[in-house]
């Protein structure tokens, strides 16, 4: 049912698709962001820090809860495992110890899946956290790389490219040292390919972090 819009043809150079982000678009959550990357679109709403259920309370740090809602049907095991990855990524970045005995709830709604969904979710989450004003030790971004049969790297693949790829690797990269926060792979690849993808992702991360910075700049420029 996909009607993917054509990508600009940029020759063979790997490229990120168009990125568009709107922050604070929802009135109820403490922080929200809509992230559109190519045709993939994700909405995130964040509540917190707020009161926490006694059963989930952690005495020395905030309790994170991540909910990933698929567009069709109910969340299943797949969503649960992605939730866990995003949650642990956030836990590593957000300074949870500043908000002990409280909860931070992140709700991610998939709006359109047209490839690189996990990395879009990560990016949306980061922008949402920024909008919610939660203290973080660094920013993070998600980058997806697809490897085709010849071992060529495609950054930020669209759905069709993802399906044709031999392997799809998704990394979360932090902004402080460009290290790997999270990694998830689909398909199998060689060690060399993995290292190349990591290096490529780190390059792409620069662009995304610049986007974060420009977007924050714009947001606060007219005050």
């Amino acid at each position: 049912m996909e009607t993917e819009q054509k990508r600009f043809d940029s020759g063979d150079l790997p490229a990120l698709r168009r990125i568009l982000c709107e922050q604070g678009l929802l009135s109820r959550p403490d922080g929200s962001a809509s992230w559109i990357q190519g045709d993939t679109s994700v909405l995130v709403g964040i509540y917190g820090p707020t009161e926490v259920k006694v059963s989930k309370e952690i005495y020395d740090k905030a309790t994170f809860e991540v909910l990933l809602k698929p567009k069709i049907g109910l969340p299943g095991v797949y969503e649960r495992s992605r939730e866990q990855m995003i949650k642990k990524t956030c836990e590593a970045v957000v300074l949870g110890t500043l908000h002990p005995r409280s909860s931070i709830t992140i709700v991610i709604q998939v709006v359109t899946d047209a490839g690189s969904l996990l990395s879009s979710c990560l990016n949306a989450t980061c922008m949402g956290l920024v909008d919610a004003g939660l203290p973080m030790n660094s920013l993070f971004c998600g980058v997806t790389c697809a490897l085709d049969a010849d071992g060529n790297i495609t950054l930020d693949p669209a759905m069709k490219q993802e399906k044709e790829a031999r392997a799809v690797l998704t990394f979360a990269i932090d902004s402080a040292e460009k290290k790997i926060l999270m990694s998830n792979t689909k398909g199998s690849c060689s060690v060399e390919e993995l290292q190349q993808c990591i290096a490529a992702s780190q390059r792409a991360a620069d662009t995304i972090f610049q986007f974060y910075r420009d977007s924050a700049h714009r947001k606060y420029s007219k005050w």
Partner: protein
């Protein structure tokens, strides 16, 4: 000793760091050392394939049951592999009774991902009649004793059980159109790849292999690498946690490759011993 026990309870992090300073761990292992791995196959006779794996105290039993089903609509020449990890109350008091919790679900999905990524068994091999009949392999992994590094144990139990599977011969009766099963004629599965997992924890920028439950609780992150016999990566699974450089990851991979060889040797010997008798 009593004093040390108290220290361990009150300041678990500091207690652990003292050991690491001496390049060893509270249970006497080195940082890169796996616990004793014991594998037993075929002990559950009600299952079509089974294996019990012990990794130190961590114990996982995997039973595989094969059943018939109609192939999925969108790929009529494929069977199913349904992996599920169960963490019952029995294995650790940290889990609640009832339906699988978050960790069990994440582990189930990880297993499903690895099976898909590595193509350990081609789903096409499980098809009996195109569009009509296929095998479903229900692979249920139950943790009996939870002392860390669940994924490695599950992976190993799964692979060993898979190698132990014997499927009966099936023919289609021309008259009735129904399947007929011959239990006397059994064949093993064709196993295409042999994925083996190696898990690490990140602790103060150190990489520690095969963590116990206690170590996992203290760690700031985990990494699981799954490799196949060609040294290809079937999964580089790092669900968040502390950051890691590419170079560090490379160290993990090297250790995982060695681990793969060890486990493969173990399983080969095991299967051979089963066949020999």
């Amino acid at each position: 000793m009593a004093a040390a026990g108290g220290f361990r309870t009150v300041e678990p992090l500091e207690y652990y760091r003292r050991f690491l300073k001496e390049n060893c761990r509270p249970d006497g292992r080195e940082l890169g050392e796996f616990r004793t791995t014991t594998v037993n196959v075929g002990s559950i006779t009600t299952a079509d394939g089974s294996a019990l794996v012990k990794l130190g105290n961590t114990t996982v039993i995997c039973g595989i049951k094969a059943e018939f089903a109609v192939p999925p609509v969108d790929s009529s020449n494929k069977g199913y592999i349904v992996p599920n990890v169960d963490l019952p109350l029995l294995c650790s008091s940290r889990f609640r009774p009832g339906p699988p919790g978050e960790e069990a679900q994440a582990a189930s999905q990880f297993m499903a991902d690895v099976i898909e990524n590595s193509q350990v068994v081609m789903k096409e091999d499980l098809c009996i009649v195109d569009g009509k009949l296929a095998w479903v392999l229900y692979c249920d992994m139950i943790c009996l004793d939870y002392d860390g590094n669940l994924l490695d144990a599950c992976m190993c139990a799964f692979l060993a059980a898979l190698k132990n599977v014997q499927l009966p011969a099936v023919s289609i009766n021309e008259e009735t159109g129904l399947a007929e099963v011959n239990l006397k004629e059994k064949t093993p599965l064709t196993i295409r790849k042999e994925p083996v997992a190696a898990s690490f924890i990140l602790f103060d920028s150190l990489l520690i292999v095969d963590p116990t439950a206690e170590e996992e609780d203290l760690a700031t992150g985990t990494v699981t690498i799954v490799t196949d016999e060609e040294g290809k990566l079937c999964a580089v699974h790092k669900p968040g946690g502390s950051t890691l450089t590419g170079a560090k990851l490379q160290d993990c991979i090297s250790r995982a490759v060695t681990r793969h060889k060890e486990v493969k040797k173990l399983l080969d010997k095991l299967i051979k011993s089963k066949k020999a008798k």
